[in-house]
């Protein structure tokens, strides 16, 4: 096994990898930008080296500097985490050329997975369905013909489009001609290009993904799905395993599809096949995320398999050590992503100093956090500060634990999504497991969020605090008791004096 691993990442995922390495007795090398000198993972690593100024392009994306640190520290392998260079084939290749093991798939596999066209071609080869349609420019007659094959509703998209512009949903055939005209014209005026194509429109699909592990010998297994339908701005906010929508049969089909895709691109290490699933439980392959997913803990808690340690072992040449039929899932796990964002201001990012930090702890609760009280959350990077995960023997137990944990989670100084997630966890549709990718947008349009119950107590507490603060400012006044500090004897004496006897 490796003696030392460099972690080419920051924040909670750097800490997660450090912990896995420590358990395995492997030395850890962290890298940090100016903004991250005070980060928790820097303190927890065995070694830490500065790689540049705060912007990622000048630090965490600087392949040359990262490889310099690897050489200097004599690291043998590099764990890329997620984001930054994790799916960058050039980086993987540079590692290989520098004699370092890249903990992830080969650069060829990364290239294939990074290309939408190549991925669709792979899916076709191994017989896995994708969202029906084409990304080529089509003439009007071709569209009319393809529309028949695909069926309605469908989507007309400007080839150069984006952000919803040049896109038309077509519910029935009679709308088709005018939609084609509108899309072409919008494409032309917005992007200077009237090329269009068609795609099947999935009404309120679910986003469900399948975790796979593959070793160097080609042993490939799936560890079950994750339900990731709760998204905002295409960013996942809540994930869970298993999906409340899943059936054993569908799981097997999707799992086998994921394995086929992985084998088809000679995938090695941990990876995830993302799918859309429609109301009739048809699934459509989207892409392979060729790295560790942010939401990997829900799979770890249900399967009992440590994915990060598995990644390291596979990269070190070890074989999986278990077969598909030996994987047992147990119970239910939910992850809430805690972002430094202001839910009352359109989820605007909210970096800054954390003045109070009290993470929850209870049976079934895991908190993958990268911050601490006193830490200044930098403005340069992703606003994810913690992943709160709850396990329960079933979904209701996991949910009840998550609700308590969110209620106990105190983060002050910055705005976070904790209170927003609290509300989501109690939403009747969510509790029923009835969700799709439109869930969060619909949820945010609801006005009624319930009356607060403890307004009076908050006022009384504020008044007491203001009173005491005022008294402290005038130290001449009679001392006010009630502090924890000081001898317990005095405390006891005071309380006994105060209470009527029993």
């Amino acid at each position: 096994m490796f003696r030392k691993i460099l972690i080419a990442n920051r924040g909670e995922i750097a800490l997660r990898v450090i912990r896995a390495c420590r358990e395995m007795g492997i030395g850890t090398v962290a890298i940090y930008s100016d903004a991250d000198r005070s980060a928790l993972y820097v303190r927890k690593a065995d070694e830490a080296y500065h790689v540049g100024p705060s912007p990622s392009a000048e630090s965490y994306l600087r392949v040359d500097r990262i490889l310099d640190v690897a050489r200097q520290s004599e690291a043998e392998a590099i764990h890329p985490g997620y984001g930054f260079l994790a799916e960058n084939p050039t980086f993987a290749e540079a590692c290989e050329q520098a004699g370092l093991v890249f903990i992830g798939p080969s650069s060829e596999t990364l290239s294939l997975c990074g290309s939408k066209t190549a991925s669709r071609r792979l899916a076709k080869q191994v017989g896995v369905p994708t969202v029906p349609g084409t990304d080529q420019n089509l003439r009007d007659e071709e569209i009319l013909q393809r529309a028949q094959e695909i069926g309605f509703p469908l989507l007309i998209k400007a080839a150069a489009g984006g952000g919803g512009k040049g896109m038309r949903i077509v519910g029935e055939e009679v709308e088709l001609q005018s939609a084609i005209r509108a899309a072409r014209s919008e494409g032309l005026s917005s992007f200077g290009d009237d090329a269009i194509f068609v795609e099947k429109y999935l009404t309120r699909p679910r986003h469900i993904e399948m975790q796979i592990l593959a070793d160097a010998a080609g042993n490939t297994v799936y560890l079950g799905e994750r339900e990731c339908s709760l998204q905002r701005r295409h960013q996942k906010v809540v994930e869970e395993a298993p999906s409340p929508f899943m059936t054993p049969d569908l799981r097997r089909q999707m799992g086998e599809a994921a394995v086929a895709l992985a084998k088809g691109c000679r995938y090695q290490n941990a990876g995830t096949a993302e799918f859309l699933v429609d109301a009739d439980r048809n699934f459509y392959f989207l892409e392979i995320n060729a790295r560790l997913q942010v939401e990997h803990p829900v799979t770890e808690l249900t399967t009992g398999i440590d994915l990060v340690k598995s990644q390291i072992r596979i990269a070190g040449g070890e074989s999986l050590g278990f077969r598909q039929e030996e994987i047992q899932r147990r119970g239910h796990a939910i992850e809430c992503r805690i972002y430094a964002e202001d839910p009352t201001n359109r989820f605007a990012p909210f970096p800054g100093k954390i003045t109070l930090y009290r993470p929850p702890g209870a049976p079934g609760i895991r908190d993958d956090s990268g911050v601490y009280e006193g830490f200044e959350v930098p403005m340069y990077y992703d606003p994810l500060i913690s992943k709160l995960v709850a396990w329960g023997k079933d979904r209701p137990e996991a949910l009840s634990r998550m609700r308590q944990a969110l209620q106990d989670y105190l983060i002050a100084g910055i705005k976070t999504t904790v209170s927003f997630l609290c509300e989501v966890m109690s939403d009747p549709r969510f509790v029923a497991g009835d969700m799709d990718t439109t869930f969060i947008d619909t949820f945010l349009q609801q006005e009624d969020r319930g009356e607060p119950r403890h307004r009076d107590v908050a006022v009384v507490a504020a008044a007491i605090h203001a009173y005491l603060t005022e008294r402290e400012r005038k130290p001449a006044a009679t001392p006010v008791s009630g502090g924890v500090a000081g001898s317990e004897w005095r405390l006891a004496a005071r309380q006994q004096g105060l209470r009527r006897g029993w």
């Binding site: 430094a340 202001d342 201001n345 605007a348 990012p349 909210f350 970096p351 800054g352 109070l356 009290r358 403005m379 340069y380 990077y381 992703d382 606003p383 969110l406 209620q407 106990d408 105190l410 002050a412 910055i414 209170s419 609290c422 607060p452 119950r453 403890h454 307004r455 009076d456 107590v457 908050a458 006022v459 009384v460 507490a461 504020a462 008044a463 007491i464 605090h465 203001a466 009173y467 005491l468 603060t469 005022e470 009679t478 006010v480 008791s481 009630g482 502090g483 924890v484 005071r494 309380q495 004096g497 105060l498």
Partner: protein, 169 residues
């Protein structure tokens, strides 16, 4: 000590009596609460009110106070009577100066684009400046009509939370 408390649209008259030992008597709109209090830390209290236990965190320790209790978060403005009068006057003055607006950075961020120049007329809802943090752009808008009087930053500049950006009158 007497306070006027404002929370949302609610207003309360508060009277905090000098505590006896660990017991505070707080009168709120005529109703007296007997509170057994214990200060756990600078910003955290354990309150027992008729046996009901509340763990209270003072998330922001100046008025308006931000108070966390049982998963709820409340903003409580506490004013002495003198402060209340002063606020009423200041409010009138502010109203008199009609629409003087100070646009400040809501969080540490980088100035991406200035959408206005000094002397420009703006209307309510017009974009004034775009800042960026955590790879998200955030367009700050004018709350009312006015003329841009001052621009305190340059494009590309990094600013802390609360930093003054633009003054509109």
């Amino acid at each position: 000590m007497k306070y006027i408390a404002e929370i949302g649209e609610h207003e309360y008259l508060i009277d905090v009596a000098e505590p006896e030992g660990s017991i505070f008597r707080v009168t709120m709109d005529g109703v007296t609460w007997e509170v057994d209090y214990l200060r756990i830390s600078d910003r955290c209290y354990s309150l027992l009110v008729d046996g009901t236990s509340y763990e209270v965190d003072i998330i922001k320790s100046v008025s308006p106070y931000t108070v966390g209790v049982r998963g709820e978060v409340h903003d409580v403005e506490l004013l002495t009577e003198r402060e209340k009068r002063r606020k009423a006057i200041t409010g009138q003055v502010a109203a008199g100066r009609e629409g003087r607006q100070v646009i400040a950075a809501p969080m540490p961020s980088k100035v991406v684009r200035l959408l206005v120049g000094v002397g420009d007329q703006v209307n309510a809802g017009d974009g004034v400046i775009v800042v960026e943090a955590m790879k998200m752009e955030n367009e700050l808008r004018s709350a009312g009509p006015g003329t841009v009087r001052e621009i305190k930053v340059k494009e590309g500049e990094a600013v802390g939370g609360g930093h003054l950006l633009v003054v509109i009158e």
